[in-house]
Amino acid sequence: MNGSREVVLRRIRRALLRSGPGHGQEQGSPDRVQSTPGQVGSTRLFDRFQEQSARVGGEPRVCSDIEDALAGMQDLIARAGYGRVAVSDHEICRRHRLAQRLSELLPEVSVWREEGDAETQGSRRQNSRRLAQADLSVTGADFLIAESGTVLLASAGSSRQISLLPTAHLVLATPDQVYPDLGAVFRQLGSAPEDGLLPAALTMITGPSRTADIEKVLIKGAHGPVRQLTWLVEEEGQLS
């Protein structure tokens, strides 16, 4: 199957005028951008996040606590007329029983939790089909990056599709998740990510899906969500 492996490697070594294997420099190259840790001054950091996210068409806002966020969701769902809402299994959603509370508040809306058995192909396919029908998804976040207004999601806490298939995607973040820049997040991800700590997919999301492929006209919602909302739930930070 890998018949050409040796051929290609030999060609490379010949091209580099080497007979044996080469070696890298193996020196680290940490991102030199100056940054402060996430926890320090996170409100100011979130101000920057809001600014950047809004610039690219994201919809950031601050909620004082989870009740405030719930009221906001109720309003959002009613205004947009969303009928189907998927809630992820992220810690913040689970802890506040978001799916259950939303369906109590909005009995006419179909709300479901992404949970249970992910180990059979059938249940995974069904999850996809359901998500493709969803108008809104609510998830947590793993990191927020202030410099670019970016949300970073790991595939460990939720499916990859829950932030991709629905028409709108709402992220509930906590103050301790806000970092100044990508370099700071990468340092947090670990100095030795080869340990296998990385999830299979890390996704950076900056604003809604977009395209400018037709005459350079900017259109939101090419293949992914048309709306991308990030709400910072302030009180959560103090709890953790």
Partner: protein, 469 residues
């Protein structure tokens, strides 16, 4: 339409004569340049970042065997499979075989220059598999039976009306030329394909050797769909996409987003390490990574062009190139256009096939200045010219013109006489607007109006006492 690099002169003159196309390219490239300039301006350490990126790429390319083996080991450790392909046909057959095994009748595909380079969609079609392009621009040109005209915006050459008629004819939907409606139609149609396809094919922007992570950068979300819905994900990359460390990614992501579209960050970046892990809700069960040589090791063997392998395909050198701005991407007759295309195409396809491309440059150096990884593109073009010209006779007209020019430039009296003679000739002929008919030159160019006095004369008349000669 099958274009080849040997047709550069014909294609370029056709495209230059098309005023609409010329305007399209000029406005699109200048818009992109403006966006880029704005976002680069906000990064005071930009030059430092370029320098560092250059050095990291140098480290990777100079130790390519080492980092590729390391990448391979990391991908395997994460449960993925690696296939080394020495050329296009080997890579294509691997993908075709995979489709057979999966009994996949359609595959969804996101943008990949490497896949285009090897003609993967043709190979799949020939094997009875339908490759569905899912990037909006790629989808449009696939339906139209066209080829991309820009690295970042493949359907740049088409108008909304053309796309509207195309969709109307091919899909029987009511005619519309509203971009948002056209986009919504494509979204809906492609969703069905995503939900049923068994194989998703993507390109790779960067592959980190230490973690086996591939990074894919995009705005639409189709690459995310290709890599998370189908049961199997296959990514294809040129050998040179490997970078030493996962921790190098932030640097390259910053440089790429700002250089290509002027964004701080593209809408999506997917960093994928192997197939779905146990307990994860979705993601492919199999992950395949194809490492494509296809001429890259030959480029590596020539130290004078080796640096062209640092390219991160941002498209900035295309946008800034005065030639590209005028002739457009199709003129180059190859997947790679603009300055980097003029370097890579002759190297990939042979100097003789693409002999006009190294000359499709004014050597202004703008490409080298803008390149986020500091490739000295214009030097590479010069070197290719040298290789082409050495040993080949130049036409006598050119030699005569050049020796006359050289003589005139060396002798002030001769220079004065020559320029006076020329002015006189022009005036006598009464054709100061378009004085000469030079085939291949004058029909698409406006000759600048002749000034009333020569600069030399003007200087003499206007110079203040005490100023230099």
């Amino acid at each position: 339409m099958n274009r080849t690099p040997s047709q550069f002169k014909i294609l370029a003159s056709e495209n230059v004569a098309d005023r609409r196309l010329r305007r399209t390219f000029q406005s699109a490239t200048s818009h992109a340049l403006g966006q880029r300039a704005q976002s680069v301006q906000l990064v005071p350490e930009w030059e430092d970042l370029r320098e560092r990126a250059h050095r990291i790429k140098e480290e990777a390319v100079e130790n390519l065997d080492f980092y590729l083996e390391k990448l391979e080991a990391s991908v395997i450790r994460r449960g993925g499979r690696v296939f080394w392909a020495r050329d296009a046909s080997e890579a294509s057959s691997y993908v075709v075989d995979l489709c057979r095994r999966l009994q996949a009748s359609t595959v969804v595909k996101s943008k990949s220059m490497a896949a285009e380079e090897i003609g993967l969609t043709d190979a799949l079609e020939a094997a009875g598999v339908e490759p569905v392009e899912t990037d909006l621009g790629e989808f449009i040109i696939q339906v139209a039976g066209e080829t991309p005209s820009h690295i970042i915006a493949p359907a740049l050459h088409m108008t909304r009306q053309q796309i509207g008629s195309l969709f109307h004819e091919k899909f029987g939907i009511p005619y519309t030329d509203v971009p948002a409606e056209l986009c919504a139609f494509a979204r809906q149609r492609l969703r069905r394909e995503f939900l049923s396809a068994r194989l998703g094919i993507s390109g790779v922007n960067f592959a980190a050797a230490d973690t086996g992570t591939i990074a894919i950068v995009e705005n639409e979300g189709n690459a995310r769909l290709c890599t998370s819905l189908p049961r199997v994900h296959l990514a294809i990359m040129g050998l040179e996409k490997v970078i030493p460390r996962f921790s190098d990614l932030p640097l390259f992501l910053r440089l790429l987003a700002r250089s290509s579209t002027g964004q701080r960050q593209t809408s999506y970046v997917s960093m994928i390490s192997g197939p779905r892990r146990e307990g994860e809700w979705d993601g492919p069960e199999e992950f395949h990574l194809v490492l494509l040589d296809n001429g890259r090791s030959d480029i590596l063997a020539d130290p004078r062009v080796r640096r062209s392998l640092y390219c991160i395909r941002c498209g900035a050198c295309l946008n800034t190139c005065p030639i590209y701005q005028r002739v457009g991407g199709h003129s180059y007759g190859s997947v790679y256009s603009g300055p980097i295309g003029s370097v890579l195409t002759p190297l990939f396809q042979g100097l003789e096939v693409a002999k006009d491309l190294p000359f499709a440059s004014s050597l202004c150096g703008s490409c080298s200045n803008i390149c986020p990884v500091k490739i000295d593109l214009h030097h590479q073009l010069l070197w290719l010219r040298e290789k082409l010209v050495s040993g080949r006779a130049t036409p006598w007209q050119e030699r005569l013109a050049m020796s006359l020019f050289a003589a005139g430039m060396k002798d002030p009296a001769l220079y004065r006489m020559g320029s006076a003679l020329l002015r006189l000739l022009l005036r006598v002929s009464g054709r100061t607007d378009r004085p000469f008919t030079v085939p291949g030159w004058s029909p698409t160019r406006d000759f600048p109006a002749l000034a009333a006095t020569s600069f030399k004369q003007w200087w003499e008349d206007n110079r203040q006492p005490g100023e230099g000669p």
